[in-house]
């Protein structure tokens, strides 16, 4: 019987060998795949095992971390004044995941970034827990607060940029949300998130209006049309435009008039047309320049970007603004910011900033530095020029016209004593046959001796105010003014 016994011994040895091979396969060959499988809860446990790095505004964090009792996800995110800062931070929820800066800089914030390898190794060797790095933003605390408070209970958004660098100074939304309420992993957090979703809350508080919502820009777009006109060489800032009032749209029987039938609009110069926001002049100008030239100019300002084009990543990617390819009557209407013309508040802030920066458009950005836990700077954003939509001379002409708007035109409520301010109002109609309340716009910049430190775009969505009251100058301009003042105060 011993021969089969020896064979059985070998067989049992092979069974053991199979198990040994399998355990080597699992724990050596496949170990990393299994260990890092996103479905493996250990990945999340590890991730929340230490406090997360912070997002910093003006040297102080706007985020924090707190220990959660009774959960294997030890630390959860907290936000200081979450509603104010959520358009920048986004959220980091154990249950839902993350977005915006929280997501894009997740490796830095958790400490897993390759650039933190040295810190991590030192911490590991000295037995200290892993630490996350910080994300330092370009935001201006006072400007952000002015924007947020200025919007009050009204729906809308504010975007403010430093024209010289493209650094974003304010990015405010109303309504907004506090990402703290769903930062954890409980069912309560899931419920809180659901309640904020558009399905439950039609006001859509989690929509980042300043970056991701496009509106018809209305009359604020006239500065782009004016820029196209000046750049074409066919128009100058103070020469008459030979335009009738009312203006009959091309290939159409529709007559376009002006707000309050302002007599100054007839045959007005570009400056006067901007001053009184004359539809007739700019619709005619857009028509004479043609759809192609209008599109080209708008694109130089940043319109018509591809969905997946990363040129304007702040690093959060804004929704693309659109100047449409269209027929002549629609193109004429697009020239005054109506028809299918759509822009984000950030886009209009970029238009303003480019003009204020003597025609040079800087890439907008909101992250200044990435800082290691030991305060070493591991990344520093350098301002980058995107394009030159207008020549310096034309830009200065446009500036002087926009300053006229604030000095003695529709935008007087944006005036700041002792400071040069240029601006443009807008009242964009929307809804079928204009039955919805219009959007009130205001774009403006302030100028000091060494150039312009701030350009801002404000949009206030439909409010209960009477239609006649909703002109951008009345609703939006005071908000822009307080944001500019906040930035200027900081400069002093």
């Amino acid at each position: 019987m011993n021969k089969p016994l020896r064979r059985i011994a070998i067989f049992c040895g092979l069974l053991t060998l199979a198990l040994l091979v399998r355990t080597n396969w699992l724990q050596f060959v496949q170990a990393d795949d299994l260990k890092e499988d996103p479905q493996n809860r250990r990945v999340a446990i590890q991730r929340y095992a230490q406090p997360r790095g912070n997002i910093v505004v003006d040297g102080k964090p706007v985020t924090g971390s707190t220990e959660v009792a009774g959960s294997d996800f030890k630390y959860k995110r907290t936000y200081k004044n979450g509603e104010l800062w959520s358009p920048i931070t986004g959220f980091a929820s154990q249950r839902i995941g993350a977005n915006q800066l929280e997501k894009l800089y997740d490796p830095v914030l958790t400490g897993d970034d390759d650039r933190l390898f040295f810190n991590r190794t030192i911490d590991m060797l000295t037995g200290k827990p892993k630490k996350g790095g910080n994300v330092v933003t370009t935001l201006n605390r006072k400007a952000q607060k002015a924007a947020f408070d200025g919007l009050g209970d009204k729906k809308g958004a504010v975007a403010a940029i430093n024209p010289k660098t493209g650094a974003i100074l304010a990015l405010a939304n109303k309504p907004s949300y506090d990402p703290s309420v769903f930062a954890g992993n409980s069912d309560k957090d899931a419920k809180a998130f659901q309640n904020l979703e558009k399905k439950k809350d039609p006001d859509d508080p989690m929509l980042n209006r300043a970056l991701r919502q496009t509106y018809p820009p209305g009359s604020t777009f006239k500065v782009v049309t004016a820029a196209a006109g000046l750049e074409s060489g066919d128009y100058d800032i103070d020469s008459k435009t030979d335009s009738e009032d009312p203006y009959r749209l091309p290939q159409s029987t529709t007559d376009l008039g002006n707000e309050g039938n302002n007599p100054a609009c007839k045959n007005a110069s570009v400056r006067v047309a901007l001053q009184w926001s004359c539809n007739t002049v700019f619709a005619k100008m857009s028509n004479e320049l043609g759809n192609k030239k209008m599109m080209e100019e708008a694109e130089k300002f940043g319109f018509n970007r591809d969905q997946d084009d990363n040129a304007q990543d702040t690093p959060v990617r804004p929704a693309p603004s659109v100047y449409p390819k269209d027929n002549r009557p629609q193109n004429a209407m697009a020239g005054i910011g109506q028809a299918s013309n759509r822009a984000t508040p950030l886009q209009m802030a970029m238009v303003t900033a480019a003009i204020a920066n003597d025609g040079k458009l800087m890439k907008p950005y909101m992250v200044d530095q990435l800082v290691a836990p030991n305060l070493n700077v591991i990344d520093q954003t350098k301002p980058k020029e995107l394009s030159q939509p207008v020549s310096p001379e034309n830009a200065q002409k446009l500036q002087s016209a926009m300053e006229t708007v604030v000095e003695k035109g529709t935008g007087t409520s944006g005036k700041i004593s002792g400071v040069t301010v240029g601006g443009k109002t807008g009242t964009a109609q929307h809804g079928e046959n204009n039955k919805d309340n219009p959007y009130a716009w205001f774009i403006s910049y302030a100028k000091t001796d060494d150039g312009s430190p701030v350009a801002v775009a404000v949009v206030v969505e439909s409010s209960d105010t009477l239609r006649s009251d909703i002109a951008g100058g009345k609703l939006a301009a005071p908000i822009a003014k307080s944001v500019m003042e906040a930035v200027l105060d900081g400069k002093k």
């Binding site: 067989f11 699992l26 499988d37 479905q39 493996n40």
Partner: protein, 474 residues
């Protein structure tokens, strides 16, 4: 301890020369088998609470006492027994206790038990009690059964008892999809654990008698010796029985174990490869047929093939959790008490206990544990090789290969090598039936090995060899 025996040359087939009893080797290894789990116990406490566990002294003393009793009884009643089996079993039992205690500390499992059953009861104290009872059974076997050949008398009684135990779970409600439990009042038994020993006794007794008929009366066909139709009877009966277990008790593991056990013993008894071929064909065919209509088996196969698929996870994420635990352990493991293998939830400290070894002790620990199991099996087969009587040979190889198959089926299932079946890891896993049955198994193996290595009785004493005396205990 050893007897100095002069070989007179009359019994040349079996060496009766002065074999050392090797009890001192066993004692030395038992010291390690106690110290290693005690250190592990301390390690868990330090890792989880930053202090030595309060029960450490009691635990260490308890394990040492079990080992000491085991050793003394072997020294007294089976002095020539294999020196490795007792230390290896003690080591596994000790590590199992630590693993169960470590999982008792898991907040996740505590919360889980509270939400499911209203309260949480730690398993480690129970397991310590079962270990004591198991060792008592081991002691009883060595004391009562002076010679394993006594068991041969109970061949057909074993068959009857084995069949009853096998069929019993059919009359009790299934637990988690498999009918492997017998619940009588407060006692919950897994008869399958005991049946493997009882059936091994039956098979050994039966095959010892029938082996010649099975081996010799056969026709040669294409290089294989085909058994006669009437000799196929027993194998078909066992095959049908294991299929019935599979169908009515939905217990893949047990049916595989019994059929495998029978085929191995048949092969050893008859020395005919054809039995293996038949066995494999029958089991593969049977399993394939059952799988076509038994949803429980299909689910297990699907879960094995696609452990991370959405459908599988929706039913149970056990295998996925187990694989993640192994992978996350890597080469060196997270260290005692620092893993998350408790995410497995149900059966984390029984069927899936190996995942905790894998995560917390890593590849290194897994290889060590698997080699310990492999050593037990190979020592068991070594006992079989050394045994002098066919019944002892068959019984030893049957018990060892049943143990080996069970380890393979459980470990392979937990590691995703083969479909998962509901069986426990011998000695490591929490569960009274398993601990008792496996201590009994080790006891019987020790008894056979003692008989095998015991110096042979001397030939009829002759007057001129008065000095030659067999020194036999008891």
């Amino acid at each position: 301890m050893s007897s100095n025996l002069t070989n007179t040359g009359s019994n040349t087939t079996v060496s009766s020369g002065g074999l050392p009893s090797r009890r001192n080797t066993e004692l030395a290894m038992l010291v390690f088998a106690v110290i290693v789990p005690v250190f592990a116990y301390a390690n868990v406490g330090l890792a989880m609470d930053d202090k030595l566990p309060s029960g450490m002294l009691g635990y260490g003393a308890g394990l040492a006492l079990l080992a000491a009793v085991g050793h003394l009884v072997v020294r007294r009643y089976a002095p020539y027994a294999d020196p490795l089996l007792l230390p290896l079993a003690t080591l596994l039992n000790g590590l199992g206790l630590v693993l169960i205690w470590r999982l008792d500390q898991s907040e996740r499992l505590q919360t889980r038990a509270e939400s499911l059953f209203g309260q949480f009861t730690p398993d480690a104290p129970k397991q310590l009690m079962y270990s004591a009872i198991g060792l008592a059974l081991f002691v009883a076997i060595l004391m009562v059964i002076k010679d394993h050949r006594i068991l041969q008398r109970y061949t057909y009684i074993s068959m009857a008892v084995g069949l009853v135990l096998l069929i019993m779970p059919m009359f009790f409600p299934p637990v988690n999809g498999a009918r492997i439990w017998v619940n009588i009042g407060p006692i919950n038994l897994q008869p399958g654990e005991f049946v493997k020993i009882i059936l091994a006794i039956f098979f050994a007794g039966y095959l010892m008698v029938k082996r010649d008929a099975l081996a010799l009366a056969s026709r040669r066909f294409m290089g294989l010796y085909l058994p006669r139709g009437r000799d196929l009877g027993p194998i078909l009966v066992v095959w049908a029985l294991s299929l019935m277990i599979l169908v009515f008790e939905t217990d893949l593991g047990t049916s595989l174990l019994f059929f495998g056990l029978f085929v191995v013993m048949l092969y050893v008894a008859t020395e005919r490869t054809s039995w293996i071929v038949f066995g494999l064909l029958l089991s593969a065919g049977g399993a394939a047929v059952v799988a076509t209509f038994e949803p429980h088996v299909q689910d297990r196969v699907q879960a094995w093939l696609h452990p991370f698929a959405k459908e599988t996870m929706a039913q149970s994420d056990q295998i996925a959790q187990s694989l993640w635990a192994f992978g996350s352990g890597g080469v060196l493991g997270s260290g005692w008490g620092q893993g998350n293998s408790d995410l497995i939830g149900f059966a984390a400290n029984s069927d899936f206990i190996l995942a905790t070894v894998g995560e917390e002790m890593g590849l290194t620990g897994m290889m060590a544990i698997l080699i310990i199991y492999g050593l037990i099996v190979e020592r068991g087969i070594r006992v079989s090789l050394a045994a002098r009587d066919p019944f002892g040979k068959l019984l030893a190889v049957g018990l060892s290969s049943a143990f080996g198959l069970q380890v393979f089926v459980v470990a392979g299932g937990v590691m995703g090598l083969i479909p998962l079946t509901g069986m426990t890891m011998p000695f490591l896993a929490a569960g009274g039936s398993s601990v008792l049955a496996n201590w009994a198994l080790i006891g019987i193996l020790l008894r056979i090995s003692d008989t095998a290595r015991r110096p042979a009785p001397s030939p009829a004493p002759s007057t001129d060899a008065e000095m030659t005396q067999v020194v036999r205990p008891s």
